[in-house]
Symmetry: C2
Subunit: 243 residues, 2 copies
């Protein structure tokens, strides 16, 4: 299983099967916003881009589709999801059901050591946001929540939350240039403070308010596929010059 043909190429990940590496690479690209929503990801193109045979590429794409990180076009092609406003509302709603519960459950189980780690991650994320490094911020934000929720010790709940985050990511990452002036007033701090005071209810409330605040902000700032068409290239800005 673990084949080491001397020295593997370089970037993706020198561990695991080719499919796992392809999966991880595509997943990261998806999170980071490497693919625009609606993009068709064909097996062979992904394969050559990743430097592997079509086989692992197909498996990775199908796995991502089964996990709802990708959608399936009529022909069977994988496409990065086009999240509508309605679906974003749905995601927000489900997050408000699951994440506060996970946060509350995690609070009594978080060790002081783990809380310190979370604090460090939050500080790093805040610094990244201040310096305008949105990718690092978003990675920190994600990691913080993952580790927080993971402490709840409910792997199934964690995986469902992950599904929602993955489905959001394509749209979220699209908002690259214009992210948070100050979308949340230290939501991370509120969450971690609740953990330190061992207050599950406060953690749940912090989680819920963070989700709703972020959703309200992004609903106004983001452009969705079902929004009325906006000029995206020069052609649509052309107007008749002869009344």
């Amino acid at each position: 299983m673990v084949r080491n043909h001397g020295k593997e190429s370089d970037a993706p990940a020198p561990e695991g099967s080719l499919e796992q590496r392809a999966y991880a690479a595509l997943r990261d690209a998806l999170i980071q916003g490497g693919f625009p929503p609606g993009e068709k990801l064909s097996i062979r193109r992904i394969a050559v881009a990743l430097g592997v045979s079509p086989m692992p590429a197909r498996a990775a794409l199908r796995r991502l589709a089964a996990e709802r990180c990708l959608d399936i076009a009529p022909g069977g092609a994988a496409i990065v999801p086009l999240i509508t406003r309605a679906e974003y509302r749905e995601i927000t709603r489900i997050r408000c059901l699951l994440e506060p519960e996970a946060a509350a459950t995690a609070v009594p189980r978080l060790t002081g050591e783990e809380i310190a780690v979370l604090r460090a991650i939050a500080a790093e994320a805040k610094a990244a946001r201040s310096s305008g490094d949105e990718e690092t911020y978003r990675r920190g934000d994600r990691l913080l929540h993952q580790r927080f929720f993971a402490a709840a010790g409910q792997p199934l709940l964690l995986s469902l939350i992950e599904t929602l985050w993955m489905r959001r990511s394509a749209i979220i990452a699209q908002a690259r240039p214009l992210l948070p002036a100050r979308p949340d007033k230290d939501d991370h701090d509120a969450l971690i403070a609740a953990a330190e005071t061992r207050d599950p209810a406060a953690a749940a409330e912090a989680s819920r308010s963070e989700i709703e605040r972020a959703a309200a902000y992004l609903m106004t700032r983001l452009r969705f596929p079902d929004d009325p068409a906006e000029p995206v290239d020069g052609w649509t800005t052309l107007r008749r010059i002869n009344g």
Copy 2:
């Protein structure tokens, strides 16, 4: 894509790609309890059992694993999940978060016609239970909830609920010989009655109480992998006959 080699074999499903058919067949078998929990499902064995090449069998198994209908053993083999008491509690907990919400959302959107269909399904299920046909009962129970929740118009929420049901099914179907004397006092009726009176709160409450009642019942009646060992075949019942 849609190949019709004259006349396909027979049973599984005469529509869709081989992978889709293999997927549907395995999924149904899983729901029905065709595989005992812990069973290893190897690609080639499934392939010959389904009369297809290893290729579609592999894809179907990997897809089911990605959907958490199956687990992955260290070697990469697919195994039907061994649900522990802790995980069953987790499933119940998440269901109590998601399903009442889905039920409440569905209520105002259910048409009178669809409610009549649900009533018919519930009646059929009740009849099947009375006559001891547990498989038909369970299929009706599942279909009833699926259609009810589907009316909520939230496909993502529906798929998450489906994940939980699928993960339950291996254990649930195991309880074949000893199901409900009367585990729920017409929970279906309560749910449908709430739909007819257009009372979302009542639907949510009916959903929640049904989940908790069923879980409480099954927790006492079901045997879980992490329970202390019990005689499962003749050998373990043998006792020393000499001091």
